[in-house]
Structures are given as C-alpha cells and as structure tokens.
C-alpha cells in the first residue's frame, strides 16, 4: 500500500528527504524483527533525530490516519516492530544520546535509541550500572526495553525494566508531547509510567526516559553447577527458590545449547552434562561464602554432579559470554528456531519442561532450553528449517502445545518478549473478553484510532466480541502478511 503523496511530502518536510526511505530494497531490512517468521513491508521508514521530529512525523501520520510503528534495534522476539497494513516505521536508533547522568542521585536521562549496554558503560567507572540486562543488551535500545518491559538474567534479584524507569517523555498518537513522571518517579495521580512500560508501542512513542542507576555489588560469586539431566537441574532451581535464596541470576542451559556454544566458542563447558545452572550471587563479601555453601547444598540435594566456581573475573565473563551468545550459537545448529517465552510457577518447572521435550519429540523436532530459570521464565527453542513447509507446520503445532502446557500450569504467555503479533491469538485463553475490553479501553484513551502499532499486544474487539464470551478462534498470522 503506497503512501499518499501528501503524507510523503509531510514526512519529508518533517525530517528531510534523506531520512525517508520508500524503496523496496531499503524497506526489506525492516520487514521483520528478531522473530523472522512474521513479515510485512512498511509503507516507509523514517529516521528521526529529536522529539520535535517524532512529534511532526506522528502528527503527519495522525492527520492522514496513517498507522505507524516505533522501532529501536529490531531485536524484539514477538513481531512487535513488524509494520502491519503498510505502517510507517519510525526508526529511533539515531536518538541515541545519554542526556544526563546524575551520579549523586543515581538517575540518568536518556534518549530512546541508547543501546542498553552503553548506559552501563557510561557509568561503570563510578561503580554504577543500568540493572535490566537483556541478553541482547549489546544491540537493543532502552526505548525497546521500555516498550517490552524487558528483563534479563539479573532481573531475578534487581527487577525488570518497569522497576527502573522513573519518568518518560512520550509523543502521543495525536502528536502531542507529554511528560509522565520524572526523576522522582511517577508523580501525582495514576501511575502512567508503570502503565506505559510494557505497552509495546501502542500508547505512543517514548522519546526520553528517566531511569535508575544501580550500585555495583561489592562482591560477586559465579557458580556453574553440572547435572545429569534437565529434570535434576530444574529441581535444583525449585529447591533454591523454596529455600528462600534470591540469587542475582539463576539460568538453566541444557545439553544441546552447551554443545552448540562449546563447538563455537571453546570455553571448556562440560559437553556431556545433561544441563548446567549458571548461578550468580552478589552482595556484601561477608555473607557470600555461607550463601554459596547453601546454594551448593541445594544443587547436590537435587542430584548435582559438580559445582565449580569462577576463579576470577575473566572466567566469570566467559561463563556469561556463553550464556549471552546462546541464541547465536543455536543459529549454527539449525536454519531457524522458534523461541517461546512463557512463565510458570517455579515449582512447576520439572513437569512442564518434560512436557515440552515430549511435544517436540512427537513432532520430530529438536527442543533446546536456555532460560531465566529463577523467575520460571522459559525459553524453549524449537529448531526447524523455515524452507521446509512441513517443519514449519510442525514447529507451529509444537508451539501451540508448549503454550497450552504453560497455561495449564497456571502460567502466563510472556515473561519479557511481549505479546507482539505472535502471541495475540493466545490472549483470550488467559484473559476474559471483559479483561481484554478494559485493556482496549485504556489503549483508546491514548490512541482512539489505533494508529500506534495497530494489531499488537491486545487482540482487537472484533476478534472476540462477535462470539460473545466464547474464546475466539484466531488464525495465527504467519509468514508474509
């Protein structure tokens, strides 16, 4: 769907012709995000450099009833940045300035295109860091993190993005600029900051964020616990949580992933292990040793074969490198993979993981696991070949079964990747039409015409209203849209 000439002119006027792309070969790059199975061609891609430009672009879209979608680094894993119905992509990566770092009060003001890890680097000399640390932190943007309420390994102890965002400047879908909260937090009235975080770009575009900086811990211990099976490793996770221990991070990595990482990076991981736990403990140095002893006891009680401790910072960083490169390593095993993001009560880990493996086997596919086990946040990866339609079918069918297992265990659809496009059709299985209706009503306060990232996050009314309170049957949107 080509954009109207008047809209194109308005966009060029707003940001300069060089910052508006409309050629097919230019748009191709913006067809999808990190989830490559869902694709759509944007109407145009607009590069913005300031709040003012964002406001002008959004106002132009609004005047032309033109849908638009914000985009950070495009690392999202739920199709959130896919431009449906020829939406205009507003690319924020160039708004990447750290505007203020207030070391005394431990807050920073950043533009949305700042890459997550750049903020930590900017204050690391002063022993501070930005706590939410998605594994993609070397590429993803703070704006994307805000939109998805992203997590990461250390959010087990330190909380997810919403716990670290104090205030936002937002361009509403009308083009109006508002401030929500500020350096002191949410401000008077309803907590619109907390509401905006995780709204997946459907309430408008965040153009600035006040975020908290967190002091680095005095001392850190990183353990690698080796198990014969995923089952035993996940029992150890349940045991550690039930013992009232809150590690800084508690990640499970299964054999498939360990082998893939090992073949690639040669870090000395035990490739014969069924699964390993990467456990990080931090705090004052005084209490750390006894805490590590308690954790090791939990691991041994669950059948742990061996628990090693990173002997120095170099070894610790290697362990984390392995964890953070895990998805990349999977790319070497299989042409495509589908990663899910369900969250379950932590006591249900062993059972649900077994169900997932059984489901993959039934469909003749390989399943791998590398996830934030301490939060109960699964990331089962289903490996398949996108070029083989039968495998695609099988992967999607397996995906449905995985989600069912999560829902039946009292879990939720997504812990950090968001609903996006890809999990929309599961929403009526965890929320009633009334629940969804409230979400849409709130959305319409910000965006009455559904121009901001339409058809994402919350299924539209027509999907469930027609059949009354019957859970609707939605076809999952697939491939080229």
């Amino acid at each position: 769907m080509p954009l109207s000439a008047t809209l194109l002119a308005a966009l060029r006027e707003a940001v300069g012709a060089a910052n508006v792309q409309t050629q097919a070969d230019e748009l191709f790059v913006y067809e999808c995000d990190g989830l490559t199975v869902d694709r759509a061609t944007p109407g145009a891609v607009v590069f913005v450099h300031s709040t003012d430009e964002v406001a002008k672009v959004v106002r132009a879209c609004s005047e032309h009833t033109q849908p638009f979608v914000a985009r950070g680094a495009g690392t999202g894993l739920s199709g959130g940045a896919v431009a449906l119905n020829g939406a205009v992509v507003i690319e924020l990566a160039r708004m990447n300035r750290i505007l203020e770092v207030d070391l005394e009060n431990r807050v920073a003001l950043v533009e949305p295109g700042v890459v997550n890890v750049h903020l930590t680097k900017a204050c690391s000399e002063r022993h501070l860091h930005y706590a939410p640390d998605p594994s993609s932190q070397g590429a993803c943007t703070i704006g994307g993190n805000v939109a998805e309420n992203s997590g990461g390994p250390h959010t087990l102890k330190y909380g997810v993005t919403v716990n670290h965002v104090l205030g936002l400047e937002v361009v509403l879908p009308s083009g109006e600029v508002v401030e929500l909260g500020g350096p002191h937090g949410k401000g008077q009235g309803y907590d619109l900051v907390g509401l905006f975080v995780g709204s997946e770009g459907t309430f408008g575009i965040a153009t600035k964020a006040w975020v908290k900086l967190t002091p680095n811990p005095e001392s850190v211990k990183t353990l690698l616990a080796v198990f014969a099976s995923v089952d035993e490793a996940s029992r150890a996770v349940s045991g550690i949580i039930a013992a009232g221990i809150v590690p800084a991070a508690l990640e499970l990595i299964d054999q498939t992933i360990v082998r893939a990482v090992e073949q690639w990076l040669h870090l000395g991981f035990p490739t014969d292990a069924g699964a390993v736990l990467l456990i990080e403990l931090d705090g004052l140095r005084d209490g750390l040793e006894p805490l590590a002893d308690r954790v090791m006891r939990c691991c041994r009680e669950a059948g742990g074969l061996d628990v090693r401790q990173a002997k120095d910072e170099k070894e610790r960083l290697l362990l984390w490198k392995a964890r953070k490169q895990a998805f990349g390593a999977v790319g070497r095993l299989s042409p495509s993979y589908y990663v899910q993001d369900g969250v379950i009560p932590r006591s249900r880990l062993p059972g649900v993981l077994a169900q997932i493996t059984a489901s993959a086997e039934r469909h003749g596919l390989v399943n791998a696991n590398v996830f934030h086990a301490g939060d109960g946040n699964l990331h089962p990866l289903i490996l398949f070949d996108e070029r083989d339609p039968r495998q695609v079918e099988a992967a999607l069918a397996c995906n449905e079964e995985v989600m069912s297992a999560v829902i039946e265990a009292g879990g939720m659809l997504s812990g950090e990747h968001g609903i996006g496009l890809e999990k929309l059709h599961f929403m009526p299985r965890v929320f009633s039409p009334d629940d969804l209706d409230a979400m849409l009503r709130v959305r319409e306060v910000f965006d009455p015409r559904h121009l901001a990232n339409p058809h994402k996050a919350i299924p539209s009314r027509r999907c469930w209203e027609v059949k009354g309170h019957e859970p609707p049957k939605l076809e999952p949107p697939r491939r080229k849209l």
Binding site: E148, G187, D191, L284, G287, F431
Partner: protein, 441 residues
C-alpha cells in the same frame, strides 16, 4: 424515591438488610471531615460487590470503597450522600504457595493477619503498615513504608489484581507468576488510584524470605546538617533496607533498617560504628525490628511539649501532614524553607521526615493559643505558598478545623487529561470515590 433511598432499598433486598447499616451512631463514629457516609454496605462476595456497584450506577449513588478506615481522610472531600462499601468480609487468604513465594489474598484481609500467615512459612511482604489496614487500602493508597529503600514500593510486589470496575464488571489483570508482560499491566493503574477506577477485591503478591537477622539502628547527632550528611553517605555506600531521618530533631535522629544474613548484619554494624567514632554521632540499637515513618520517632499522637520563646510550654495538636517527592540532597533546604513558611502562616513545624530514597514529609501544628503576634493558622495560604515556591506538596491529612480550598494533590498537570480519560474508561459514571483524586477524578 430519591437515588439514595432507592439504592439502599435495592441493596437491602439483594445483600440482606443486616448488611446495609445506617444507624446514626455508627455513621457518626465513621464520619471524617473528608468522608461522611450516608450508609455502610458489607457485601460478602465479589459477586455482591459487583452487584452493589451496578446498583450504584443505576441509582447514581457514589460509593466509597473502604477497608480498615485508617486512611479515609486521604484525598479531596467525598460528596455528600455517598455510601461506604466495606471490603471487610472479603478477608480470606486465597492461596499461599510457599515454594513459589507467591500468595493471593482477598482485599479485605488485614495487613497484620496476612503477615502472620506468611510468617508461619518464614516469608513476608517486606513492608510495615498498621496491622488493621487492609491489603486493598494499602494498594489503593500505595503508601509504602520506609522499606521502600531496600525493596521498592508496594507496586513492585504486586503480580496481579482482580477488581470490580466502576461499571460493575469483574476484571483481572496480571497473573500469579513473578515475571509477566502478558497484556497491559493495568495493576499499575489501580495501585495508588485511591479506589477511583475499581474496587480491588483480590491481589497476588510476590513474597520474600524473612531476613535471618533484622534490626533497627538509631543514629543520633548533635548537628542536623552533619548528621544528615552522614546518613546520606551510609545509605549511598551500604545496603540498608530502610532509612528515615528526622528534622529538626534536637538532637538529630535517624533510623536505619538492616535485613541481612548474620555475617552481613555484623558487617553493617561494624560499618555504622566506624562511621560514628565521635564528633557528636551516637549509635543505639532500638530493639525494634520495624520502622514506622508515621510514628517516627515513637511518640504519642499528642506531641511532646513545645517550648515557646516566652518560656511557656504548650502541647500542640497535629494540624496537617504534607508530603512531596525529593532527592536527599535537596531536603535540608526544602524543610528549612517550609519551616519559615509555616511560621508566617500560623503553624509550627513539628517534625520533618525524609524516607530514603525520595519521600519527604512534614507534620505541622497550629492553634498555639496566645503565641505572641502569631498569625492565625492558614493552611490554604501556606499550601499555596509552598506550591508557588516549587514544592509540589500533597496534603495527606488535616485536622477538622483546617480546611483546604485547593486540591490536596495540587494544580492540574498536563498528563491529567489522560488520567481523566482513564477514569471515564473504567468508571464511566464516576460512581467510585468521585471528586477524591487529582483534578476532580
């Protein structure tokens, strides 16, 4: 039949006459300057609450959701003829899964009773609050205690909510897992909404293990500025879970909360002792494990006597409480300015508090009869002057004789237009606590 009479009639029929109370003695006992209910409803289930809200829509009767009635003074005045909707019969602990560190409770459950049940399993919600406050009331006011420093505020511990919105429809948001981005996080809206969007009927919380060692240390200093600076440095450097400093305080006093393993606890004590070698700083173990910002330092409601410049001592009565967000570095100047403005508006500053990391508050006394040449207390004028001076104060409590013409929450802000929209979306006929929140919401 008038709206109210018709409503009460219908309520008696559907909830049972014994759950619709309007005896004058009871209503008098409940009456506050800011909220004088015309009746009290005691529904026994979520369905009955939904029914009551639907009836209120039909008869156009405003409702005041309530729990322990400990904070009904908070907010702008409620309209006349409103009916209180008590949650107190919804007081069940629905589910506690110790292995998952998660608990779900009905909103009318008292905070103290909830904690007791969690303690049986070595777990807790890391907060202090009055034992009779209900979970719903705590969520609606989002008045988190001093442990915010170590654990964040209440909103950071809520996983999911069930509410009855202003249209009488029961809705859920969030879930029972500790990390969740499934759908908009509407719980954030309800928390701190003062019951203006929905009646909270059930909540799921993320719990914490109870600390192995917990203590409250009191640090005294002869000099406010030096003492406050010392506390700031300690809080910056070491993981205290709570810290509250008092002003003016003669001597200056601060309380620091520690929740830690025994070795960490010992370490923090050593650090504290090392930080107060001499120079007017003293350290004292309080013997308590809890801090209470509203009762800090511990003292009776009627305050310690104040000595006037002419040598007389009087016992002043609390006249108002104010709060505002602040950075620690700005607090000393702000509270000094407030002290001066108070004096020129007929008040005295009883106590100022700073709860780290960012909440400041002040208690004022007024009506010092015979204070020489002192102006008559003028809360309205004082609050206006403070806001004009750039201190965005919220008035959280006033004595009956102190009236406020402006909103307790201050002048309208740009984002309030969105808030009004949200109010219309979730309470279309404005039956829940109308007029009590920002800008007439």
């Amino acid at each position: 039949m008038s709206g109210l009479a018709g409503f009460l009639d219908a309520a008696r029929r559907s909830l049972g006459a014994e759950q619709v109370l309007d005896a004058p003695a009871l209503l008098d006992a409940l009456s506050l300057p800011q909220a004088r209910p015309a009746a009290l409803l005691r529904p026994g289930s979520v369905e009955e609450i939904a029914l009551a809200v639907k009836l209120a829509n039909e008869h156009r009767v405003p409702l005041l959701p309530c729990g322990g009635w400990t904070a009904m003074h908070y907010g702008d005045p409620a309209p006349a003829g409103a009916v209180a909707l008590s949650l107190q019969r919804l007081d069940r602990l629905v589910e506690h899964s110790p292995a998952d560190m998660v608990a779900t409770a009905q909103a009318g459950l008292a905070f103290g009773a909830f904690q007791d049940r969690l303690h049986e399993h070595g777990q807790w919600l890391p907060f202090e609050a009055p034992a009779t406050a209900t979970l719903g009331g705590l969520l609606a006011t989002d008045r988190s205690g001093p442990r915010r420093l170590g654990y964040g505020t209440l909103r950071d511990q809520v996983l999911g909510l069930t509410v009855v919105n202003g249209d009488g429809v029961v809705r859920k948001c969030g879930g029972k897992v500790v990390k969740n981005v499934t759908g908009y996080d509407l719980a954030k809206l309800y928390i701190g909404s003062l019951g203006t969007l929905g009646v909270i009927v059930e909540a799921t919380f993320k719990l914490r293990p109870r600390p192995e060692t917990s203590s409250v240390q009191e640090l005294e200093h002869d000099d406010f500025a030096a003492g406050f600076k010392l506390v700031r440095e300690l809080v910056q450097r070491l993981p205290f879970v709570a810290a509250v400093a008092g002003f003016p305080g003669k001597p200056f006093v601060a309380q620091l909360g520690i929740d830690a393993s025994p070795p960490d606890h010992a370490r923090l004590l050593r650090e504290l002792e090392a930080a107060c070698p001499s120079g007017g700083a003293r350290l004292r173990e309080t013997g308590a494990t809890h801090l209470d910002a509203e009762e800090f330092p511990p003292r009776p409601r009627r305050l310690r006597a104040v000595t006037l410049t002419d040598g007389r001592t009087v016992e002043p009565a609390l006249a108002a409480r104010l709060t505002w967000p602040a950075f620690a570095g700005d607090f000393p100047d702000q509270i000094a300015a407030l002290d001066q403005l108070a004096a020129s508006h007929g008040f005295g500053l009883m106590m100022g508090f700073f709860e780290f990391p960012s909440r400041a508050s002040a208690e004022l006394f007024g009506s010092l009869e015979g204070g020489e040449g002192a102006p008559a207390p003028d809360l309205d004028g004082m609050v206006k002057a403070l806001r004009k001076a750039g201190l965005p104060v919220t008035v959280t409590w006033t004595a009956a004789e102190q009236t406020l013409s402006a909103s307790a929450f201050g002048p309208p802000q740009p984002a309030w237009e969105l808030m009004r929209g949200i109010k219309r979306a979730l309470d279309p006929r404005a039956v829940l606590n109308p007029g009590r929140f920002v800008e007439g919401i």
